[in-house]
């Protein structure tokens, strides 16, 4: 950390982490409702729909706050100047968290817009827009005043403006259900396979630059190519959601062709991460930060790239659409791409915000957290996938009624919940570790010993 105003990032990270913990705990209850028979009296008061709205909105809220905090950390260093209005950034956090809490409490009392992931009532939507405008103004003015443009800032700011503009398409009431879903995907798809990918690429490039000291020119060049491929496949790839909603048949071709290419930019990003770890001369430290960056690159590719590709072609999607197959892909992709991205950034930035020497910290508990979470999510996604394949066969191919097909799936939902326990444990450990990061205990330990226990493995220096 070189600039005082970067400190506003820390409260963003803290709130994001607490909401993350709340999200996974709620997720456990969402999963249990598939396994248990919840009595009517409970269902009447706290239905599945409410718990799911909370689970998904907590996800969106903590990830967006994470991105915003990361942006506030990153922008001063890239622009080489203080943030325009640091206090406004804190006000913005209070505003957004207040809106989020009001929305979550509102859900409990049935105050909802009633559209999945966009449940926040229209009144509160305006507060979200106000918060986003404050954020963009703060970042925009800082960059404008500094007049030091580069592709990294461009990708970040472009992604953030893209994100904010797309949110507007989710606000109106659409009388026609098909058109409603058409524009719903402008928010959801163009977020996760457009705007968020821009932000991810920028944040990842920033961390790689700072951690490895690879040539900036090379990183920037590859960033252009990655972004070009992300947007080329991602924008028209929105069509893979338009197969069965009452849109023209041409979408089957356009959506299928473009989205089939979507794994390539992610693969390029994976290669890019691997290459920058090989080419530079320093050792890969801190080990845990690198574990996160590597984990993100791999699981982003597996969850979003491979699991996404598995059901993106219309011939397959006809049978898997709207089944637990989608759920399996959704969990692994969100975790691999965006949860790990945010956590990587937290592990990168928090030690620096705390002024720990060289950004090193005591890593031990964090490793437990990483592996518990990652193995938990992997197992969970595989169990969802088995449930999804069962559903596809029984309901979609054999034509069994929904509830008949769900019966044998309940066992696999139990497996999901058991892995969910691992995830919750991992998240609790990780959140606690990140909030109490301390200096490295054994900083005097010789490098050879570190090598022996696998810390900094792969370092070629």
């Amino acid at each position: 950390m070189t600039y005082r105003s970067q400190r506003v990032a820390y409260p963003y990270f803290v709130v994001a982490l607490l909401l993350f913990a709340l999200q996974v705990v709620m997720g456990l209850w969402v999963g249990l409702q598939y396994v248990l028979t919840v009595p009517q009296s409970v269902v009447d008061v706290f239905p599945f729909a409410t718990s799911r709205a909370m689970h998904t909105n907590l996800l969106v809220l903590w990830m967006l706050l994470g991105f915003m905090g990361a942006t506030y950390y990153l922008v001063p260093e890239e622009a080489e100047s203080e943030l325009a209005w640091p206090r406004l950034a804190i006000f913005q956090l209070v505003l957004l968290v207040g809106t989020g809490v009001a929305a979550l409490v509102g859900f409990l009392f049935g105050w909802t817009q009633g559209r999945p992931l966009l449940e926040i009532p229209t009144t509160l939507d305006f507060l979200v827009v106000a918060g986003a405008l404050i954020f963009l103004a703060n970042v925009g003015v800082t960059l404008w005043r500094a007049r030091r443009w580069n592709v990294l800032q461009g990708a970040l700011l472009g992604g953030l403006v893209f994100l904010a503009v797309m949110y507007l398409f989710g606000m109106p009431f659409y009388p026609n259900l098909a058109m409603d879903w058409y524009y719903w995907w402008w928010v959801i798809h163009l977020w996760v396979e457009g705007a968020w990918e821009l932000i991810t690429a920028a944040m990842a490039a920033f961390m790689l630059l700072k951690l490895t000291g690879v040539d900036r020119k090379v990183v920037e060049k590859w960033l252009y190519v990655e972004l070009g491929l992300f947007l080329f496949t991602g924008i028209a790839g929105t069509g893979h959601h338009y197969y069965w909603l009452g849109a023209p048949k041409a979408w089957l071709l356009v959506g299928g062709a473009f989205s089939a290419l979507e794994p390539f930019p992610i693969l390029l990003m994976l290669y890019d991460t691997w290459r920058s770890t090989r080419e530079h001369g320093r050792s890969l430290a801190p080990g845990l930060t690198w574990l996160y960056l590597g984990g993100m690159a791999v699981l982003h590719f597996v969850g979003a790239g491979l699991f996404g590709f598995a059901h993106t072609l219309p011939q397959i999607n006809y049978y898997t659409h709207g089944s637990q197959v989608t759920v399996s892909h959704g969990h692994l992709a969100f975790f691999g791409a965006y949860a790990l991205l945010n956590l990587s950034f937290f592990y990168f930035a928090i030690p620096r915000l705390k002024g720990l020497p060289e950004g090193r910290y005591d890593e031990r508990a964090g490793r437990w957290g990483f592996w518990l979470m990652t193995l938990g999510i992997l197992g969970m996604s595989l169990a969802f996938a088995v449930a999804g394949v069962l559903q596809t066969y029984l309901e979609r191919i054999r034509g069994e009624p929904f509830m008949v097909a769900q019966a044998p799936m309940r066992f696999w939902m139990l497996i999901v919940v058991l892995h969910g326990l691992l995830v919750v444990a991992g998240v609790v450990v990780t959140v606690k570790h990140l909030l109490t990061l301390g200096p490295e205990r054994t900083s005097a330990r010789p490098a050879a010993e570190l090598q022996a226990i696998g810390v900094g493995a792969g370092a070629s220096s």
Partner: protein, 239 residues
């Protein structure tokens, strides 16, 4: 690779995809009215969509395959369950799903809301979405029932179904009414005994059912109808 080439990859990639996407959006808007029967999208249907959102139905159910995956897809619910089936689930879910391992909340809908939701689901069920979902595909209903009906002339149960005018309310194949659930769908989830008891006295099996009782049929005749209805389901297992 030069930086110039990298930059042009970015711009060509982004802009070409954007052009395709926007052109397709125009194409979609030109076709939406016909594909979704927009002429039938009246105030009642819109009121139904409002009710659908007010009660957060979409965070348990999917519709057009989107939403939560906890409860059945509603795209063809109207065609599958019939008007009365939809209405009864909305009015008294605690009765309909009393023995189910998964419940639907009792939301105390007003009679107007119920009617609006029925109108909304009826409109949705007609959206031309390339025959999705497969389990409710009319083409598949047709193929499987054609075989069953081909032997109907020889089947006393089929004759009974005709004689008692079951198809005035229930759908079968591509014909029949839309008041009660479709016969193939009943056959897939109920056994012969249940169907026979239901025919004898619907009210006793499912409180609030609007189906009339058929006490004039003998036990044997009722079981025969039950067997016929169940047999409709087994044929569906071949896609």
């Amino acid at each position: 690779m030069s930086e110039r080439l990298a930059k042009s990859i970015f711009w060509v990639g982004t802009l070409s995809s954007l052009v395709v996407f926007l052109a397709m959006t125009v194409h979609t808007h030109r076709n939406f009215a016909a594909l979704t029967h927009a002429e039938a999208l009246d105030d009642k249907v819109v009121a139904g969509k409002h009710a659908f959102e007010r009660h957060n139905c979409n965070d348990c159910h999917t519709i057009l395959g989107f939403g939560a995956y906890y409860a059945p897809d509603l795209t063809r619910a109207y065609a599958r369950l019939g008007e009365d089936g939809v209405r009864r689930r909305l009015e008294s879910p605690e009765v309909v799903f009393a023995s189910s391992y998964r419940k639907m909340p009792q939301q105390h809908l007003s009679p107007t809301e119920v009617e609006d939701l029925v109108a909304f689901l009826a409109w949705v069920s007609r959206i031309d979405n390339h025959d999705w979902p497969p389990q409710d595909s009319p083409h598949r209903w047709q193929r499987s029932t054609e075989r069953a009906l081909a032997s109907a002339a020889l089947s006393p149960a089929a004759a009974l179904v005709q004689q008692e005018n079951c198809l005035a309310c229930h759908a079968l194949g591509t014909g029949g009414g839309s008041v009660g659930p479709r016969l193939e769908w009943i056959g897939a989830r109920r056994d012969v005994d249940y169907i026979a008891r239901y025919i004898a006295n619907p009210e006793a099996v499912s409180h609030g059912s609007r189906m009339p009782a058929f006490p004039h049929l003998s036990e044997g005749q009722r079981l025969m109808i039950g067997e016929f209805v169940v047999s409709l389901a087994t044929d569906r297992s071949t896609p």
